[in-house]
């Protein structure tokens, strides 16, 4: 089945220690998104790639970076995690970025910062 895969499902990192979360997709979609979801809150868009074009949300901290080396893979890098960065990180894809296109979500990576 075509899907969005996130690894690892659970990640523990230390305060200030860089961490990378990965996402892959077999849907061959043009757009890949990264969301941050804190406990009992709505998912918050951090940035998205439209093909190779990176689009950052205005309120995304510089501490968060992303890479998309090819169509299938996208990475979220947190350069110096703080306690406030503990959250579920969701990767999603869509065929195109017009609002009518459905987004397909991965299972998420739960990040703990100690």
């Amino acid at each position: 089945d075509a899907m969005v895969i996130q690894n690892p499902r659970y990640q523990v990192t230390q305060f200030g220690k860089p961490v990378t979360l990965s996402c892959s997709q077999t849907l061959n979609h043009n757009v890949m998104y990264w969301y941050q979801q804190k406990s009992s809150q709505a998912p918050k868009l951090l940035f998205h790639y439209y093909d190779k074009d990176f689009n950052n949300e205005a309120d995304t901290p510089d501490n968060f970076q992303s890479r998309r080396p090819n169509t299938s893979f996208c990475f979220l890098d947190i350069r110096s995690p703080g306690l406030g960065d503990a959250a579920m990180y969701l990767c999603a894809t869509s065929r195109d970025r017009a609002g009518s296109y459905e987004q397909y979500f991965g299972p998420g990576t739960r990040l703990t910062v100690t």
Binding site: A42, P43, L45, A98, G99, E102, Q103, Y104, F105, P107
Partner: protein
Amino acid sequence: AQSVTQLDSQVPVFEEAPVELRCNYSSSVSVYLFWYVQYPNQGLQLLLKYLSGSTLVESINGFEAEFNKSQTSFHLRKPSVHISDTAEYFCAVSGGTGFQKLVFGTGTRLLVSP
């Protein structure tokens, strides 16, 4: 700017009872409306969507939602819930031309008890 309001943070209900989860939106452009469901420690799954046409949309597992433009609402209903429907439900809106990010409500936790 678009926004979504889900007034009920939690809705407890007994199995086989009907349920309605409320969603109101605000938008200055034509909208696309979505309901996503999130089971514990999982990503979001699309439940149903309204893009255009019939204002009543249905999912494969018995949920339905009705787009009401005059009341700017997109409430989700099910005539008889199951224990397995226990989850977090997010209403979301996008719309307009070009890239329009998906804006989520804060979610409603549906708790179905025997």
